[in-house]
Each structure stands twice: as C-alpha cells, then as structure tokens.
Amino acid sequence: MTQFGPAIRERRERLRRDDRRYSVRQVATRIGIEPAYLSKIERGEVAPPSEATTVRLAKELDQDPDVLLAMAGKVSGDLQEIIRKRPKLFAELIRQLKEAPDHAVLRVVREVRDGDW
C-alpha cells in the first residue's frame, strides 16, 4: 500500500477539525468524484486516482500537486513533456543532481533575471 491514501486522509481530517466543509462527502463533491471512491482512496483500497483528480485534490487540500503525484507513483504530464522534448539534456541534469542536497538543487533553479530599471 502506498502512503498516498493515509496522507490524504490525515491532511483532510486536519482541515476538517477547523472547517466542516472538509468532510469526505464535501471534498469528493468539490473535486468531482464519488464520496465512496474518495473513502476507498484514503483507506488504500484502490490505486491512487488519475493525474487530473490528484491535482484537483492537491488544490483542494492546499498541497503541492507534484508532491502528491510523486506519492501516487506518478510524474505530472507537463514534466514528462519537458523531458521528452530534450531527453538527453534533462536526463543528464536529473542524474547529476540526484544526490545533491536541496540547497544545491535550488541554486540551479532558474532565477527571474533582474535588469536595469
């Protein structure tokens, strides 16, 4: 069983402590799935949902979609597309950075350039 379901449940229950709109029924309705299906997802009885549903769930629970997709064993379609366009370059980059600490990875993130104004 993946950690996806329990993590979703824990997050939703935490939000529900302050706001009753985070019941299984209401969250499921807002993201467009059946409450029974969300309940099964949370209990790990079914595989994590589709990418689109996972992204909606992430938004609803104020979580990072990429993190939730990774927990579901997936990589978002837009990232796959980026790699497919320049596979050699990005495969090499990711392999080189796989053991790097977070602060080192952040340094290679593209910065917004400040100019002359």
């Binding site: 910065e111 917004v112 100019g115």
Partner: protein, 329 residues
C-alpha cells in the same frame, strides 16, 4: 533569488535562513464600481499568467529586454490584487510605474519608515490598491500607458515605466530567531499592439474599498537591507500578450454587479488591534479613472454600475485560512 513557479513569484533567501521565503502572486478579480461608495474586498478569480520576459525577447524592444523580470497580460480596465504568502517576516515594497502604492513617492532602492513605504509580512496578507486614506485603498485598474490615467502619469507627468515593481527584504536571521524564540511556535506569527514598442499597460486608481495597510510591528533595523530581490512585472494588453507569447489571456472577469447579484461573498480581513498607516498625501490630488474620464469627456470604464453587497466573509479570525476565492478560481 526569485523563481517563477506556477505563475507565482517565489522570493527565497536560503543564505539567510532556510525558512526565509515568500510567494507573491497577482490575482484576477472583478473591478469594483468607481462610484464614490466604499466596498469590501472582491474575490480572487485565479492567478494572472506570468512568463519570463527573456523567453520572448525576440518580440520585445531593447528597452523592455533591459528590465528583465516577468511579463503578464491584463485587459483594459481589468483589476488585480496582490496576494502575499509567507510565514517568515518580510518587508515588501510595491510600486506601479515606479510610484510607491503606499506613499505615492517615487521609487527608491531602500526602505523608508516615516512614512512607511512597504507592507510588513506576514501581517499584511493582501494589497488591493493605492493607500489613499487610513483604512481605504483605491483599486489597481489597468489602463493603457500614455492615456493619462495611470498614477505615474498623474503624479509625475510621464508615461515611462508602467507595470508593477516589487522588492522584498527579509528579516535579519538573528532577529527572526529571537522573534521565534519569544513565540512558542512560528505559526503564531502568524489593439494592433503586436509591436513591442507600443507602451504597454500601467495601473491607475479605481473604486474605493476598505483595506488597512498595517503598520510595521517590528523595529526598523530588523530588516536586512543588504539583501533584497526585486522584480519588474511588465504588463501588456490581451492582444500584445497573444502576439508575444502565442497564448490567449484569461477571460474578462464578471462585473461587480453581476457578481454581487449572485450572492457570492465579498471579503474583509480581521487583524485584531493591528494599527493601520495613514493615507498618502500625494494621492490626494490623484483622480480616479472615472473622475478623470468625466473631465476628459471619455468613458473608459464599461459596467461601472453600483453593486449591493449581500455577503461579507471576514477572513483571519480563529486561525481560519486566508483564502479569498470564489467562482472560477
């Protein structure tokens, strides 16, 4: 450093503290009526798209390329508000056309305390417009640069910059750690415009709404003015955006009256007994878009009918999430 993630500007200072980051985004919203009434805060309808300006340099003039930063689209007479999200304390200056939105003063590359020319985060969750009076702002409304409506043209007589300018200063590490130690938890801190040489969009004052700009609760020397990150946000109209990026801009938001008639909520922010700064004297001589249009015999604002507000959600009480979203968000 600033990175662009999911149409948000993420300001990060890992060299100061691993928690020293804040995100800033520009929310689409409805334009409140410019009818002399005071309105509550309108909803967020989703983020404006933002792109690295460098990615579209071949379509842009040399002057725009020199700015760097990001580029985003706004329809004429469309409104925006700025959403701040940070648990680490930051001082953030916001200018339009290089005119400070809080003081009306010309841009400076440092913070000023008297009068305070920055928003103190995390106390300030949003900024919706120009601070014209204590507890009252005039909404940020996009107008074509060169038509005379923008604040920079009204105050300084030149349509030179347009867009938005933002700079963020983090709190010094030692001050943050001392502050954190005093609290049990950090959480408690709690047209054929395809030619790039056309002037782009600037921001002008729209209708009036209730919003406090909170006075900085920290000592002025808490801010690390040796380290800051700044960004020029170039604003273009929808046709320019399509020509530059090949993408369609978001649709126009509903009118304030249409939104109000649905009964969907407007917003207010609860901040206990936090003090607000005074309005800027400089803005006293600035006319709103409707006022100026009447003087000039023009009608630049469609759908300016007054709206009756049925529902106001007060955000920030009892630790509720600071969410200002409604339909389409």
């Amino acid at each position: 450093m600033i990175v662009l993630e999911h149409d948000r500007l993420e300001f990060r200072f890992p060299e100061i503290h691993r928690e020293a980051s804040c995100s800033i985004e520009f929310q689409r919203t409805l334009r409140i009526p410019d009818d002399g009434r005071e309105y509550p805060l309108p909803p967020g309808l989703g983020r404006f798209p933002l792109r690295h300006l460098d990615d579209h340099a071949e379509h842009l003039s040399a002057a725009w390329q020199r700015r760097g930063g990001v580029i985003g689209p706004m329809h004429q007479a469309e409104a925006l508000w700025i959403n701040f999200d940070s648990s680490y304390p930051f001082a953030v200056k916001v200018a339009t056309g290089k005119v400070c939105a809080i003081t009306g003063n010309a841009w400076t590359d440092h913070l000023n305390r008297d009068p305070q020319d920055y928003a103190a985060l995390p106390e300030q969750p949003w900024l919706d417009g120009y601070c014209v009076e204590k507890g009252l702002v005039r909404q940020f409304v996009a107008m074509p640069l060169g038509a005379g409506y923008t604040v920079e043209e009204q105050l300084y007589g030149a349509a030179e910059h347009g867009g938005l300018q933002i700079v963020a200063y983090p709190m010094k590490r030692e001050r943050y750690e001392a502050l954190a130690a005093r609290h049990a938890s950090i959480a408690e801190l709690a047209e054929t415009y395809a030619m790039p040489q056309s002037p782009g969009m600037g921001l002008a004052p729209g209708g009036r709404m209730k919003q406090d700009i909170y006075a900085d609760p920290h000592d002025f020397d808490a801010w690390d003015q040796r380290r800051c990150s700044r960004c020029f946000v170039t604003l273009v109209n929808s046709l320019q955006w399509l020509a530059i990026t090949g993408e369609h801009p978001p649709t126009r938001p509903p009118s304030a009256r249409t939104y109000a008639e649905t009964g969907l909520p407007w917003f207010d922010h609860y901040a206990g007994d936090a003090e607000a700064v005074a309005g800027a004297d400089r803005f006293k001589g600035v006319a709103s878009v409707v006022q100026l249009a009447k003087q000039q015999g023009e009608a630049p604002l469609p759908e300016n009918q007054s709206a009756e507000i049925a529902s106001i959600v007060v955000v920030g009480q009892d630790g509720t999430r600071l969410v200002r979203e409604s339909w389409g968000a």
